[in-house]
Symmetry: C2
């Protein structure tokens, strides 16, 4: 199936676009930011991902005759066509003219800071909102989950969750995000082909079941794959399966080949891994690795390692590919400033909510990341208005103004990088490459303190508004409450 | 992006296919069944979905030159090419020759009964396994969630979870599955176009924020959409927003138009809905409906209704589109029988596990659904071997052999219907249509007892193995434990 990103949107984005077009707002420029409010998985960081697909969305965004025929067929609930013919004609030649800035994939990011900024005509900004949120929310979630799993595993992790992933493209981009987050490989062949990811796999229980007995199945597999032989030992009885694998491993050795590993996919994995290691070592197959799989996540992996099992690699499926314990990031995309055609400057915009944590931040924003020393350890992130600059280098927690931190004198870098200008993508190839993003993830995680990478109750990283921006936002709340 | 289903698979399916091809197993016929083991969402039923995409998978399955070039580029971990040139040549002209039987979309289904059956050459059966599981698992999950949400809501539910869905295609098929499960409409325009689903939407907070004040924003929207005017009232302050909406609603009435509704997207929804209803009624706008949204699911909706709020329709996003509280179904696809080229009959195959609940069932299976009376109420489902038939009409719970039920004398129908024969789909257009599937869902749910539709601790529906099949399975376990 082919996915047309121009229609991969909520209907209201198109009706609002018609509304803006009709009521003279079409030339109003807008600035939107995408950010999330809560640490995913109760962890201490997130890994940004989704920017390669976002570039693809921007590049392919155009309405076909087919799209327009479909839109013209829609009726308003109260009768009459939903879209006006003149608006559909406008869409026929419509091209995005947004500027998009985003953190590179693999950047370690935190709540309340912009990950993506979109500026341009307000309708353009909204027409890509849904697809942008869909890809950045989901892929950031999966890259983060993968990073957590890989931190726990310490040895290579293969992602193989496609069969439990949420839909086909969900699976394909999930596999890519898993590699960005740190996975060594994926079982997903299409993702391997599309994104140049390492692919890997062993065999299924059905292979064993289709032969008269397990030993015959193992022998046939070893003959077929002498350079890639990992035997799944739990179809009938794990210990007997290990004995059969050892028999085949010794036969392979006699032929000058090597049994690369055995995989255990059920039962008490920690206990079985230790048993298997002992049996393999006693048989002289110390070079045969142990692969574990079956409903693993960062917590079960940590527990298995804590029990002293020596595991050479891990297969992680369901709980990674759909981020089982928290299947959405909840990132939002909020209007923060507008500028009319005659305006010299941007006007702040704010959505007020009942809680300080859900209040939006006005302005055209970017993030300064401060480092201790020569860049080896993160100190704090400052959200600032690019037009106002940083008046002082004190940051204020947007959800709790008693939490402040002075970052003056520290080295910093600015996080948002150009992804598109006037609707044309300018993202360098190196910023689309999943394996380069994986290196960025590793480098970024190494700048976090161990306390921020803890699985349980990690240390909260300081992210705040630049002091002047904090004050501007406070004043705007007071003013808007008055005019609502 | 275009999704090629032939590579939408785990690598091991392709390596195993090469293994079967090489070691003379290629002419072995196999029978696989897809089923799930646990009720999703701790509920009392599931709604089958995903068969329309499964038909698309079967229809488009062919390896392109591009695919083969990619596969030939892969190396085995131990060195040398992973795939042999002769096998890749075999794939070049490969066409599926499987028979697929499946329950129609919208069928109410239960744990431990086959939803899809695939028979054919063993490699063919495995090459579609991953894509089949991906689509049937996910869509059945979402259709089931939607059915639960709609049972709780009682008034129309619009699905609008695309921005939080897991990937683009995840979002598109999720929207379709949500409609199959009972949703009145979706906000997802691409899903609307692809599958002929009703689409709907209101406007966003950004519409309001882009105008000088809320009243100006509401007036502009009412002018732009006199036949489709639902105003979002919680950008700044909900009660003031309702007052502004009332002012615009009265202006519309004076022009002979109608304010269709207001939408509340934050705060205490039950309290605000009751307040809004009172304010609208007092203003003479009794015909203005109330739409609620914001992190809703079946439980919050039920609680809001229990408090007496009168809600005309609901927008349900995140928690529906990714099935937040249980983001995978966990359905499996298990080999149950093989037949060699010289065999007259099928040989039973079984995967043994440590628990009775995870044991597979051998044979070539189908399901008889028994009804009380003339079909108005379900009595129980029998899993039986189509070649052995039903020796007696007593069913045995596969996970607990003390639970048995005699269904003799009751009317029954058989659930699996042909979807493909020798790789050619035979699925009637009526069985691909999402709106027809939604009717099947409604009809199916009406045959369930209220106790089976309860949200909390529902009654368990009797599904069991035909008595002779139960005995065959038990004997096979004993035998396989011996030869493993």
């Amino acid at each position: 199936m082919k996915l047309d990103y121009e229609l991969l949107t909520d209907l209201y984005q198109l009706t609002m676009a018609q509304g803006y077009w009709e009521c003279g707002q079409r030339d109003v420029a807008a600035c939107f930011h995408m950010y999330f409010r809560d640490y995913p998985f109760k962890g201490g960081f997130a890994v940004a991902c989704g920017m390669a697909q976002l570039a693809e969305i921007v590049e392919t965004f155009a309405f076909s005759d087919d799209d327009l025929a479909y839109l013209s067929s829609l009726d308003a609930p109260g009768g009459g066509p939903l879209f006006k013919p003149a608006f559909l004609e406008h869409l026929r030649t419509f091209r995005l003219s947004v500027d998009v800035d985003a953190v590179p994939e693999g950047t370690v990011v935190f709540p309340h800071e912009p990950i993506v900024r979109v500026t341009g005509p307000i309708a353009d900004c909204q027409l890509i909102e849904t697809a942008l949120l869909n890809c950045v929310n989901f892929q950031t979630l999966i890259a983060t989950k993968a990073a957590r799993v890989c931190l726990a595993a310490q040895s290579p992790v293969a992602e193989f969750g496609l069969r439990r992933a949420q839909g086909a493209a969900g699976g394909v981009w999930a596999s890519r995000a898993a590699v960005v987050g740190g996975c060594a490989s994926t079982s997903n062949v299409l993702a391997g082909k599309l994104f140049g990811l390492p692919v890997s796999g062993t065999h299924a229980h059905s292979w064993v079941m289709s032969f008269p007995d397990e030993l015959a199945a193992f022998r046939a597999y070893a003959r077929a794959f002498p350079n890639n032989c990992v035997l799944l030992v739990d179809t009938y009885d794990v210990e007997q399966g290990i004995r059969n694998a050892i028999e085949v491993g010794l036969e392979m050795r006699a032929r000058g080949e090597r049994l690369a590993g055995i995989r255990i996919d059920s039962g008490d994995l920690a206990w079985l891994a230790k048993t298997a290691r002992r049996m393999l070592d006693e048989a002289g197959l110390a070079d045969c690795g142990i692969v574990l799989s079956n409903d693993l996540d960062e917590h079960t992996i940590q527990s298995i390692r804590d029990e002293g099992a020596k595991v050479d690699s891990w297969g992680v499926g369901t709980k990674l590919a759909c981020a089982y314990d928290q299947p959405t990031l909840g990132g939002v995309y909020k209007l923060s400033a507008t500028r009319g055609p005659a305006d010299a400057a941007w006007t702040d915009r704010l959505k007020i909510s009942e809680s300080a944590a859900k209040l939006t931040t006005p302005g055209v924003l970017d993030v300064r990341r401060y480092f201790y020393g020569d860049g080896e350890r993160l100190a704090g992130d400052m959200v600032f208005d690019v037009n106002a600059g940083a008046r002082c280098e004190t940051i204020v927690d947007p959800a709790d103004d008693l939490r402040q931190k002075n970052l003056s004198g520290l080295r910093f870098e600015t996080l948002l990088k150009p992804l598109a200008r006037k609707g044309e993508t300018v993202l360098a190839p190196a910023l689309r490459d999943a394996l380069a993003a994986r290196e960025r993830t590793q480098a970024g995680l190494s700048t976090l303190d161990e306390s921020q990478k803890r699985m349980l109750n990690p240390h909260t990283y300081p992210v705040g508004l630049e002091y002047g921006l904090f004050e501007r936002r406070r004043d705007l709340v007071v003013r808007l409450r008055g005019i609502a």
